[in-house]
Amino acid sequence: MDKTTACVLIPSAGRPFILHETLMQQPFLNLRSTLVGIQRDQWATYEQVRKDFARITYIQYDNPGGSTVVAREHLRRAAVAIGFKRYVCADDNTYYTEQSLHNLVKASLSFKKPVVVGGMQGSMKMDAKPSRFDEAYVKKSGFTKNGFRFYRKIGMMFWCFPHELYSKACYLPEIWFTSMKAPSIAHAGCMEDHTIALALLKTGFTNFVVCMDAPFMKKRFQPGGSGNLIQRATKIGLAWMRLGGQHPDFMAHVRMVWPYAKFYKIAKQRKRDEDIPF
Protein backbone atom coordinates (compact mmCIF):
# COMPACT_ATOMS: atom_id res chain seq x y z
CA MET A 1 0.00 0.00 0.00
CA ASP A 2 1.25 3.48 -0.85
CA LYS A 3 2.24 5.16 2.39
CA THR A 4 0.49 8.40 1.43
CA THR A 5 -2.81 6.58 0.83
CA ALA A 6 -3.80 6.64 4.47
CA CYS A 7 -2.83 8.31 7.70
CA VAL A 8 -3.38 7.35 11.32
CA LEU A 9 -4.55 10.09 13.68
CA ILE A 10 -3.86 9.72 17.40
CA PRO A 11 -4.43 12.45 19.98
CA SER A 12 -2.76 11.93 23.35
CA ALA A 13 -3.02 13.86 26.61
CA GLY A 14 -1.52 13.39 30.03
CA ARG A 15 -0.08 9.93 29.43
CA PRO A 16 3.16 9.90 27.41
CA PHE A 17 4.05 6.54 29.00
CA ILE A 18 0.94 4.89 27.54
CA LEU A 19 1.57 6.35 24.10
CA HIS A 20 5.18 5.19 24.38
CA GLU A 21 4.02 1.66 25.23
CA THR A 22 1.55 1.67 22.34
CA LEU A 23 4.23 2.77 19.88
CA MET A 24 6.68 0.23 21.27
CA GLN A 25 4.12 -2.52 20.69
CA GLN A 26 3.15 -1.09 17.30
CA PRO A 27 6.43 0.14 15.78
CA PHE A 28 4.83 0.13 12.32
CA LEU A 29 3.20 3.43 13.38
CA ASN A 30 6.59 5.18 13.39
CA LEU A 31 5.89 6.81 10.02
CA ARG A 32 5.35 10.34 8.71
CA SER A 33 1.77 9.39 7.93
CA THR A 34 1.06 8.81 11.61
CA LEU A 35 -0.08 12.12 13.06
CA VAL A 36 0.04 12.35 16.84
CA GLY A 37 -1.64 15.34 18.47
CA ILE A 38 -0.23 16.83 21.67
CA GLN A 39 -1.38 19.83 23.66
CA ARG A 40 1.07 22.71 23.63
CA ASP A 41 1.23 22.75 27.44
CA GLN A 42 2.22 19.05 27.46
CA TRP A 43 4.75 19.22 24.63
CA ALA A 44 7.71 18.85 27.01
CA THR A 45 6.27 15.81 28.81
CA TYR A 46 6.13 13.97 25.48
CA GLU A 47 9.79 14.71 24.65
CA GLN A 48 10.95 11.14 25.14
CA VAL A 49 8.19 9.77 22.91
CA ARG A 50 9.03 12.33 20.24
CA LYS A 51 12.72 11.39 20.44
CA ASP A 52 12.13 7.62 20.34
CA PHE A 53 9.56 7.81 17.53
CA ALA A 54 11.04 10.64 15.52
CA ARG A 55 9.47 9.75 12.16
CA ILE A 56 5.96 10.46 13.40
CA THR A 57 4.40 13.82 12.51
CA TYR A 58 3.59 15.58 15.78
CA ILE A 59 0.91 18.26 15.79
CA GLN A 60 0.77 20.87 18.57
CA TYR A 61 -2.33 22.78 19.59
CA ASP A 62 -3.87 24.77 22.41
CA ASN A 63 -6.54 22.85 24.31
CA PRO A 64 -7.11 24.51 27.68
CA GLY A 65 -10.12 22.37 28.60
CA GLY A 66 -8.45 19.11 27.58
CA SER A 67 -11.31 18.47 25.18
CA THR A 68 -10.94 15.40 22.98
CA VAL A 69 -13.21 17.07 20.43
CA VAL A 70 -10.83 20.02 20.12
CA ALA A 71 -7.86 17.65 19.83
CA ARG A 72 -9.54 15.63 17.08
CA GLU A 73 -10.52 18.74 15.14
CA HIS A 74 -6.93 20.02 15.15
CA LEU A 75 -5.67 16.65 13.92
CA ARG A 76 -8.41 16.44 11.30
CA ARG A 77 -7.57 19.86 9.93
CA ALA A 78 -3.83 19.11 9.80
CA ALA A 79 -4.34 15.76 8.06
CA VAL A 80 -6.95 16.98 5.59
CA ALA A 81 -4.65 19.88 4.66
CA ILE A 82 -1.95 17.35 3.71
CA GLY A 83 -4.56 15.25 1.93
CA PHE A 84 -4.90 11.47 2.20
CA LYS A 85 -7.34 9.07 0.63
CA ARG A 86 -8.19 7.55 4.00
CA TYR A 87 -8.01 8.70 7.62
CA VAL A 88 -7.76 6.14 10.39
CA CYS A 89 -8.79 7.52 13.78
CA ALA A 90 -7.38 5.61 16.72
CA ASP A 91 -6.62 6.27 20.36
CA ASP A 92 -3.27 6.28 22.13
CA ASN A 93 -4.25 3.07 23.92
CA THR A 94 -5.75 1.19 21.00
CA TYR A 95 -3.93 -2.00 20.04
CA TYR A 96 -3.92 -3.63 16.60
CA THR A 97 -1.51 -5.39 14.31
CA GLU A 98 -0.02 -3.95 11.12
CA GLN A 99 -2.06 -6.51 9.21
CA SER A 100 -5.24 -5.31 10.90
CA LEU A 101 -4.47 -1.67 10.05
CA HIS A 102 -3.76 -2.60 6.41
CA ASN A 103 -6.96 -4.60 6.26
CA LEU A 104 -8.97 -1.69 7.64
CA VAL A 105 -7.69 0.67 4.95
CA LYS A 106 -7.93 -1.92 2.15
CA ALA A 107 -11.45 -2.80 3.24
CA SER A 108 -12.37 0.88 3.05
CA LEU A 109 -10.77 1.21 -0.40
CA SER A 110 -12.77 -1.75 -1.66
CA PHE A 111 -15.97 0.34 -1.62
CA LYS A 112 -16.66 2.63 -4.56
CA LYS A 113 -19.12 4.75 -2.61
CA PRO A 114 -17.97 6.43 0.62
CA VAL A 115 -18.25 4.08 3.58
CA VAL A 116 -16.99 4.47 7.14
CA VAL A 117 -15.29 1.22 8.11
CA GLY A 118 -14.69 0.37 11.75
CA GLY A 119 -12.41 -2.27 13.14
CA MET A 120 -13.84 -5.11 15.20
CA GLN A 121 -13.25 -4.61 18.92
CA GLY A 122 -12.34 -7.36 21.33
CA SER A 123 -9.13 -9.03 20.23
CA MET A 124 -5.91 -8.50 18.26
CA LYS A 125 -6.06 -11.96 16.72
CA MET A 126 -6.76 -11.99 13.01
CA ASP A 127 -9.11 -14.96 13.36
CA ALA A 128 -11.11 -13.28 16.14
CA LYS A 129 -14.85 -13.81 16.21
CA PRO A 130 -17.36 -11.05 16.82
CA SER A 131 -18.52 -10.49 20.37
CA ARG A 132 -21.72 -12.21 21.47
CA PHE A 133 -23.52 -8.91 21.17
CA ASP A 134 -22.28 -8.36 17.60
CA GLU A 135 -23.20 -11.88 16.46
CA ALA A 136 -26.75 -10.64 15.91
CA TYR A 137 -25.45 -7.89 13.62
CA VAL A 138 -23.43 -10.44 11.64
CA LYS A 139 -26.49 -12.68 11.21
CA LYS A 140 -28.66 -9.78 10.17
CA SER A 141 -26.32 -7.82 7.94
CA GLY A 142 -23.10 -9.80 7.37
CA PHE A 143 -21.58 -9.72 3.88
CA THR A 144 -18.26 -10.30 2.13
CA LYS A 145 -16.62 -7.92 -0.34
CA ASN A 146 -13.19 -8.27 -1.99
CA GLY A 147 -12.34 -11.01 0.51
CA PHE A 148 -13.16 -8.91 3.57
CA ARG A 149 -16.01 -9.76 5.94
CA PHE A 150 -18.31 -6.97 7.09
CA TYR A 151 -21.47 -6.29 9.07
CA ARG A 152 -23.47 -3.11 9.34
CA LYS A 153 -22.78 -1.23 12.54
CA ILE A 154 -21.07 1.94 13.69
CA GLY A 155 -17.64 0.85 14.88
CA MET A 156 -15.64 3.50 16.72
CA MET A 157 -12.18 3.93 18.32
CA PHE A 158 -10.34 2.35 15.37
CA TRP A 159 -12.11 3.38 12.22
CA CYS A 160 -11.40 4.63 8.72
CA PHE A 161 -12.94 7.59 6.92
CA PRO A 162 -12.69 8.41 3.21
CA HIS A 163 -11.42 11.89 2.29
CA GLU A 164 -14.75 12.99 0.79
CA LEU A 165 -16.39 12.53 4.20
CA TYR A 166 -13.63 13.46 6.60
CA SER A 167 -12.76 16.67 4.78
CA LYS A 168 -16.33 17.93 5.18
CA ALA A 169 -17.60 16.63 8.53
CA CYS A 170 -16.19 18.63 11.47
CA TYR A 171 -15.89 17.85 15.15
CA LEU A 172 -16.55 21.50 15.91
CA PRO A 173 -18.27 24.01 13.65
CA GLU A 174 -15.99 26.48 11.90
CA ILE A 175 -17.33 29.32 14.02
CA TRP A 176 -15.95 27.71 17.19
CA PHE A 177 -12.47 27.82 15.73
CA THR A 178 -12.47 31.15 13.99
CA SER A 179 -14.49 33.53 16.09
CA MET A 180 -14.63 32.05 19.56
CA LYS A 181 -11.92 32.17 22.16
CA ALA A 182 -10.45 29.32 24.14
CA PRO A 183 -12.98 29.24 27.01
CA SER A 184 -15.79 28.36 24.62
CA ILE A 185 -13.75 25.63 23.01
CA ALA A 186 -12.74 24.43 26.46
CA HIS A 187 -16.39 23.65 27.06
CA ALA A 188 -16.58 21.23 24.15
CA GLY A 189 -16.11 18.17 26.38
CA CYS A 190 -15.49 14.70 25.01
CA MET A 191 -17.43 12.07 22.99
CA GLU A 192 -15.53 12.93 19.84
CA ASP A 193 -16.38 9.68 18.07
CA HIS A 194 -20.08 10.22 18.70
CA THR A 195 -19.68 13.81 17.52
CA ILE A 196 -18.28 12.88 14.12
CA ALA A 197 -20.79 10.03 13.69
CA LEU A 198 -23.70 12.37 14.41
CA ALA A 199 -22.21 15.05 12.13
CA LEU A 200 -22.14 12.51 9.27
CA LEU A 201 -25.64 11.26 10.04
CA LYS A 202 -26.90 14.83 9.95
CA THR A 203 -25.76 15.07 6.32
CA GLY A 204 -27.85 11.97 5.56
CA PHE A 205 -24.84 9.66 5.40
CA THR A 206 -25.68 6.31 7.00
CA ASN A 207 -23.20 3.86 5.49
CA PHE A 208 -21.27 2.50 8.47
CA VAL A 209 -19.80 -1.01 8.58
CA VAL A 210 -17.46 -3.04 10.75
CA CYS A 211 -14.73 -5.13 9.13
CA MET A 212 -14.23 -8.44 10.89
CA ASP A 213 -10.73 -8.72 9.41
CA ALA A 214 -9.54 -5.60 11.23
CA PRO A 215 -9.58 -6.59 14.90
CA PHE A 216 -8.38 -4.32 17.69
CA MET A 217 -8.35 -3.95 21.45
CA LYS A 218 -8.60 -0.95 23.71
CA LYS A 219 -7.96 -0.67 27.42
CA ARG A 220 -10.54 1.24 29.45
CA PHE A 221 -10.22 3.73 32.29
CA GLN A 222 -6.49 4.24 32.02
CA PRO A 223 -4.94 7.26 33.70
CA GLY A 224 -4.65 10.43 31.63
CA GLY A 225 -6.69 10.86 28.46
CA SER A 226 -10.01 12.47 29.37
CA GLY A 227 -8.82 12.79 32.97
CA ASN A 228 -10.01 11.00 36.06
CA LEU A 229 -13.50 9.51 36.27
CA ILE A 230 -15.00 12.73 37.66
CA GLN A 231 -13.43 14.90 34.98
CA ARG A 232 -14.69 12.38 32.47
CA ALA A 233 -18.26 12.64 33.80
CA THR A 234 -18.05 16.44 33.63
CA LYS A 235 -16.81 16.29 30.05
CA ILE A 236 -19.66 13.93 29.17
CA GLY A 237 -22.09 16.55 30.52
CA LEU A 238 -20.42 19.28 28.46
CA ALA A 239 -20.52 17.08 25.37
CA TRP A 240 -24.19 16.32 26.00
CA MET A 241 -24.96 20.04 26.14
CA ARG A 242 -23.04 20.67 22.93
CA LEU A 243 -24.54 17.70 21.08
CA GLY A 244 -27.99 18.56 22.39
CA GLY A 245 -27.66 21.93 20.71
CA GLN A 246 -26.19 20.56 17.48
CA HIS A 247 -28.34 17.44 17.06
CA PRO A 248 -31.50 17.73 19.18
CA ASP A 249 -33.40 15.19 17.08
CA PHE A 250 -30.76 12.49 17.46
CA MET A 251 -29.94 13.25 21.08
CA ALA A 252 -33.59 12.90 22.05
CA HIS A 253 -33.09 9.12 21.64
CA VAL A 254 -29.99 8.91 23.84
CA ARG A 255 -30.46 7.54 27.33
CA MET A 256 -28.45 7.50 30.50
CA VAL A 257 -28.09 4.29 32.46
CA TRP A 258 -28.19 4.87 36.21
CA PRO A 259 -26.78 1.80 37.95
CA TYR A 260 -28.63 2.12 41.25
CA ALA A 261 -27.34 -1.20 42.58
CA LYS A 262 -23.83 0.27 42.38
CA PHE A 263 -25.01 3.52 43.97
CA TYR A 264 -26.54 1.62 46.92
CA LYS A 265 -23.27 -0.24 47.37
CA ILE A 266 -21.33 3.03 47.53
CA ALA A 267 -23.84 4.51 50.00
CA LYS A 268 -23.76 1.42 52.24
CA GLN A 269 -19.96 1.31 52.20
CA ARG A 270 -19.83 5.01 53.07
CA LYS A 271 -22.19 4.42 56.00
CA ARG A 272 -20.10 1.48 57.21
CA ASP A 273 -16.95 3.62 57.03
CA GLU A 274 -18.65 6.39 59.02
CA ASP A 275 -19.87 3.93 61.65
CA ILE A 276 -16.40 2.56 62.38
CA PRO A 277 -15.42 3.89 65.84
CA PHE A 278 -11.99 5.46 66.18
Binding site: K153, I154, H194, A197, L198, L201, K202, G204, F205, T206, F208, L229, I230, R232, A233, T234, I236, G237, L238, A239, W240, M241, R242, L243, G244, G245, P248, D249, F250, M251, A252, H253, V254, R255, M256, V257, W258, P259, Y260, K262, F263, Y264, I266, A267, K268, R270, K271, E274
Partner: protein
Protein backbone atom coordinates in the same frame (compact mmCIF):
# COMPACT_ATOMS: atom_id res chain seq x y z
CA UNK B 1 -50.69 -0.21 62.68
CA UNK B 2 -53.11 2.72 62.38
CA UNK B 3 -51.82 6.05 61.30
CA UNK B 4 -53.95 9.14 61.52
CA UNK B 5 -54.08 11.13 58.32
CA UNK B 6 -56.75 13.55 59.53
CA UNK B 7 -54.27 16.42 59.90
CA UNK B 8 -51.91 16.75 57.01
CA UNK B 9 -48.48 15.51 57.94
CA UNK B 10 -47.31 15.74 54.40
CA UNK B 11 -47.12 18.22 51.54
CA UNK B 12 -47.64 17.64 47.85
CA UNK B 13 -45.26 19.72 45.75
CA UNK B 14 -46.08 20.40 42.09
CA UNK B 15 -44.20 22.75 39.77
CA UNK B 16 -46.02 23.78 36.60
CA UNK B 17 -44.83 25.69 33.59
CA UNK B 18 -46.43 26.78 30.35
CA UNK B 19 -49.49 24.55 30.62
CA UNK B 20 -52.24 25.95 32.85
CA UNK B 21 -54.79 23.89 30.90
CA UNK B 22 -52.96 20.70 31.86
CA UNK B 23 -52.77 21.68 35.51
CA UNK B 24 -56.45 22.67 35.49
CA UNK B 25 -57.34 19.24 34.15
CA UNK B 26 -55.22 17.54 36.80
CA UNK B 27 -56.80 19.52 39.64
CA UNK B 28 -60.31 18.95 38.30
CA UNK B 29 -59.68 15.21 38.18
CA UNK B 30 -57.89 15.20 41.53
CA UNK B 31 -59.97 17.71 43.45
CA UNK B 32 -58.63 16.38 46.77
CA UNK B 33 -55.47 18.37 45.96
CA UNK B 34 -57.36 21.62 46.50
CA UNK B 35 -56.08 22.13 50.04
CA UNK B 36 -53.41 24.18 51.75
CA UNK B 37 -50.82 21.39 51.99
CA UNK B 38 -50.67 21.20 48.20
CA UNK B 39 -47.95 23.60 47.06
CA UNK B 40 -47.93 24.56 43.40
CA UNK B 41 -45.01 26.50 41.98
CA UNK B 42 -45.51 28.98 39.15
CA UNK B 43 -42.91 31.22 37.56
CA UNK B 44 -43.46 34.92 38.19
CA UNK B 45 -43.57 35.64 34.46
CA UNK B 46 -46.43 33.12 34.07
CA UNK B 47 -48.69 34.15 36.93
CA UNK B 48 -51.14 35.83 34.61
CA UNK B 49 -51.36 32.73 32.44
CA UNK B 50 -52.29 30.66 35.54
CA UNK B 51 -54.77 33.18 36.98
CA UNK B 52 -57.84 31.11 36.18
CA UNK B 53 -56.44 27.92 37.75
CA UNK B 54 -55.40 29.87 40.83
CA UNK B 55 -58.91 31.29 41.12
CA UNK B 56 -60.61 27.92 40.70
CA UNK B 57 -58.36 26.16 43.22
CA UNK B 58 -57.88 28.80 45.83
CA UNK B 59 -57.22 26.41 48.73
CA UNK B 60 -53.91 25.42 47.17
CA UNK B 61 -50.80 27.22 48.44
CA UNK B 62 -49.48 28.98 45.36
CA UNK B 63 -45.76 29.74 45.28
CA UNK B 64 -44.23 32.03 42.70
CA UNK B 65 -40.56 32.53 41.90
CA UNK B 66 -38.19 33.87 39.26
CA UNK B 67 -36.79 31.26 36.92
CA UNK B 68 -35.16 32.95 33.93
CA UNK B 69 -33.45 29.76 32.74
CA UNK B 70 -36.64 27.67 33.01
CA UNK B 71 -34.77 25.17 35.17
CA UNK B 72 -36.67 22.30 36.76
CA UNK B 73 -34.23 22.38 39.68
CA UNK B 74 -34.99 26.06 40.41
CA UNK B 75 -38.73 25.30 40.46
CA UNK B 76 -38.29 22.29 42.76
CA UNK B 77 -35.95 24.19 45.07
CA UNK B 78 -38.45 27.05 45.45
CA UNK B 79 -41.14 24.57 46.50
CA UNK B 80 -38.81 22.57 48.74
CA UNK B 81 -37.62 25.65 50.61
CA UNK B 82 -41.12 26.85 51.42
CA UNK B 83 -42.47 23.43 52.39
CA UNK B 84 -39.53 22.34 54.53
CA UNK B 85 -39.58 25.79 56.13
CA UNK B 86 -43.14 25.11 57.32
CA UNK B 87 -42.08 21.59 58.26
CA UNK B 88 -43.99 18.43 57.31
CA UNK B 89 -43.06 14.86 58.06
CA UNK B 90 -43.22 13.78 54.44
CA UNK B 91 -43.01 15.51 51.04
CA UNK B 92 -44.49 14.20 47.82
CA UNK B 93 -42.79 15.88 44.86
CA UNK B 94 -44.88 15.13 41.79
CA UNK B 95 -45.74 16.56 38.37
CA UNK B 96 -48.62 18.67 37.07
CA UNK B 97 -49.73 15.83 34.80
CA UNK B 98 -49.34 12.88 37.17
CA UNK B 99 -52.58 11.00 37.84
CA UNK B 100 -53.42 9.27 41.15
CA UNK B 101 -56.35 8.90 43.49
CA UNK B 102 -56.64 10.26 47.01
CA UNK B 103 -56.40 6.70 48.30
CA UNK B 104 -53.22 6.16 46.32
CA UNK B 105 -51.69 9.34 47.76
CA UNK B 106 -52.62 8.36 51.31
CA UNK B 107 -51.29 4.85 50.77
CA UNK B 108 -48.02 6.34 49.59
CA UNK B 109 -47.67 8.33 52.81
CA UNK B 110 -48.77 5.39 54.95
CA UNK B 111 -46.26 3.17 53.15
CA UNK B 112 -43.48 5.60 53.94
CA UNK B 113 -44.39 5.38 57.63
CA UNK B 114 -44.95 1.62 57.98
CA UNK B 115 -41.93 0.41 56.02
CA UNK B 116 -39.63 -1.22 58.61
CA UNK B 117 -36.37 0.37 57.43
CA UNK B 118 -36.22 4.10 58.11
CA UNK B 119 -35.56 6.52 56.60
CA UNK B 120 -36.81 5.22 53.29
CA UNK B 121 -37.99 6.66 50.01
CA UNK B 122 -41.21 5.18 48.72
CA UNK B 123 -42.40 5.57 45.14
CA UNK B 124 -45.81 5.01 43.65
CA UNK B 125 -46.63 2.07 41.40
CA UNK B 126 -46.46 3.29 37.79
CA UNK B 127 -48.98 1.97 35.29
CA UNK B 128 -46.26 0.20 33.29
CA UNK B 129 -44.71 -1.43 36.38
CA UNK B 130 -46.74 -4.70 36.22
CA UNK B 131 -44.95 -5.35 32.91
CA UNK B 132 -41.46 -3.94 33.50
CA UNK B 133 -41.13 -4.87 37.17
CA UNK B 134 -42.75 -8.31 36.99
CA UNK B 135 -39.65 -10.09 38.35
CA UNK B 136 -39.38 -7.70 41.30
CA UNK B 137 -43.13 -7.87 41.97
CA UNK B 138 -42.82 -11.63 42.49
CA UNK B 139 -40.48 -10.88 45.41
CA UNK B 140 -42.76 -8.20 46.92
CA UNK B 141 -43.15 -8.20 50.71
CA UNK B 142 -46.07 -7.10 52.84
CA UNK B 143 -45.83 -4.64 55.71
CA UNK B 144 -48.84 -3.09 57.42
CA UNK B 145 -51.17 -4.41 54.75
CA UNK B 146 -49.19 -2.78 51.93
CA UNK B 147 -46.98 -4.53 49.38
CA UNK B 148 -43.47 -3.36 48.62
CA UNK B 149 -40.67 -4.27 46.26
CA UNK B 150 -37.20 -2.80 46.08
CA UNK B 151 -36.67 -0.33 43.27
CA UNK B 152 -35.75 3.28 42.66
CA UNK B 153 -38.64 5.37 41.43
CA UNK B 154 -39.59 9.01 40.97
CA UNK B 155 -42.46 11.18 39.58
CA UNK B 156 -44.82 10.31 42.45
CA UNK B 157 -42.76 9.57 45.52
CA UNK B 158 -42.45 10.47 49.16
CA UNK B 159 -39.36 11.79 50.87
CA UNK B 160 -38.97 12.11 54.66
CA UNK B 161 -38.26 15.49 56.24
CA UNK B 162 -34.88 14.33 57.58
CA UNK B 163 -33.64 13.96 54.00
CA UNK B 164 -35.53 16.64 52.12
CA UNK B 165 -34.68 19.39 54.60
CA UNK B 166 -30.98 18.56 54.40
CA UNK B 167 -30.52 18.80 50.66
CA UNK B 168 -30.97 21.43 47.99
CA UNK B 169 -31.39 21.53 44.25
CA UNK B 170 -28.62 23.61 42.63
CA UNK B 171 -29.73 26.59 40.52
CA UNK B 172 -27.62 25.31 37.62
CA UNK B 173 -28.91 21.76 38.00
CA UNK B 174 -30.93 21.68 34.78
CA UNK B 175 -33.86 19.29 34.54
CA UNK B 176 -32.74 16.10 36.33
CA UNK B 177 -34.09 17.27 39.68
CA UNK B 178 -34.98 13.74 40.82
CA UNK B 179 -31.33 12.64 40.57
CA UNK B 180 -30.22 15.41 42.92
CA UNK B 181 -32.66 14.15 45.56
CA UNK B 182 -31.57 10.58 44.99
CA UNK B 183 -27.87 11.30 45.34
CA UNK B 184 -28.43 13.56 48.34
CA UNK B 185 -30.36 10.76 50.05
CA UNK B 186 -27.72 8.20 49.17
CA UNK B 187 -24.99 10.45 50.51
CA UNK B 188 -26.96 10.77 53.75
CA UNK B 189 -26.88 6.99 53.99
CA UNK B 190 -30.45 6.34 52.83
CA UNK B 191 -30.26 3.44 50.42
CA UNK B 192 -33.74 2.05 51.05
CA UNK B 193 -35.85 2.71 47.98
CA UNK B 194 -39.05 0.82 47.54
CA UNK B 195 -42.19 0.91 45.43
CA UNK B 196 -45.58 0.57 47.12
CA UNK B 197 -47.98 -1.41 44.96
CA UNK B 198 -51.04 0.12 46.63
CA UNK B 199 -50.03 3.60 45.43
CA UNK B 200 -50.71 3.43 41.71
CA UNK B 201 -50.22 6.41 39.40
CA UNK B 202 -49.88 7.27 35.76
CA UNK B 203 -48.24 10.00 33.78
CA UNK B 204 -48.69 10.75 30.10
CA UNK B 205 -45.42 11.24 28.21
CA UNK B 206 -44.45 13.70 25.50
CA UNK B 207 -46.93 16.39 26.53
CA UNK B 208 -46.30 19.98 25.56
CA UNK B 209 -44.90 22.48 28.04
CA UNK B 210 -43.59 21.61 31.47
CA UNK B 211 -40.02 21.59 32.73
CA UNK B 212 -39.01 18.31 31.13
CA UNK B 213 -39.65 19.68 27.64
CA UNK B 214 -37.66 22.89 28.09
CA UNK B 215 -34.48 22.43 26.02
CA UNK B 216 -34.38 18.77 27.00
CA UNK B 217 -30.91 17.70 25.89
CA UNK B 218 -29.22 20.98 26.74
CA UNK B 219 -30.73 20.84 30.22
CA UNK B 220 -29.71 17.20 30.60
CA UNK B 221 -26.12 18.10 29.76
CA UNK B 222 -26.27 20.89 32.32
CA UNK B 223 -27.57 18.40 34.89
CA UNK B 224 -24.77 15.94 34.17
CA UNK B 225 -22.16 18.66 34.66
CA UNK B 226 -23.73 19.77 37.95
CA UNK B 227 -24.20 16.19 39.17
CA UNK B 228 -20.58 15.35 38.35
CA UNK B 229 -19.51 18.39 40.36
CA UNK B 230 -21.80 17.73 43.34
CA UNK B 231 -21.91 13.91 43.43
CA UNK B 232 -18.74 12.64 41.73
CA UNK B 233 -18.73 9.35 43.66
CA UNK B 234 -21.96 8.29 41.94
CA UNK B 235 -21.56 10.01 38.58
CA UNK B 236 -18.40 8.11 37.78
CA UNK B 237 -20.60 5.02 37.43
CA UNK B 238 -23.07 6.34 34.86
CA UNK B 239 -23.22 4.94 31.35
CA UNK B 240 -24.59 6.61 28.26
CA UNK B 241 -26.47 4.53 25.76
CA UNK B 242 -26.67 5.60 22.11
CA UNK B 243 -29.33 3.57 20.28
CA UNK B 244 -27.53 3.89 16.94
CA UNK B 245 -30.01 1.82 14.94
CA UNK B 246 -32.79 4.21 15.94
CA UNK B 247 -30.60 7.26 15.27
CA UNK B 248 -29.62 5.90 11.85
CA UNK B 249 -33.29 5.26 11.08
CA UNK B 250 -33.99 8.86 12.06
CA UNK B 251 -31.15 10.06 9.79
CA UNK B 252 -32.53 7.99 6.90
CA UNK B 253 -36.01 9.33 7.48
CA UNK B 254 -34.72 12.87 7.59
CA UNK B 255 -32.97 12.70 4.22
Amino acid sequence: MKISLSKPTYAVLIPSKGRPDQLMKTLEKQSFLNRWNTFIGIQNDQREMYQEVMRCFDQVTWISFDNPTASGCVARESLRKVATGIGFRRYVPTDDNARYTEESLENLIRASVVYPTQPCIVSGFHGTAPHFDSAKIKKAKEYGGLHFYEKWGAIFWTIPHSIYSRMSYPIDGGRMDDRFVSFAALRQGCSTWVVCMEAPFNKPTQQKGGYSAAGRTRMMGQSIVALARDYPEFMEKIVISFPWMRIIAKAKGGK
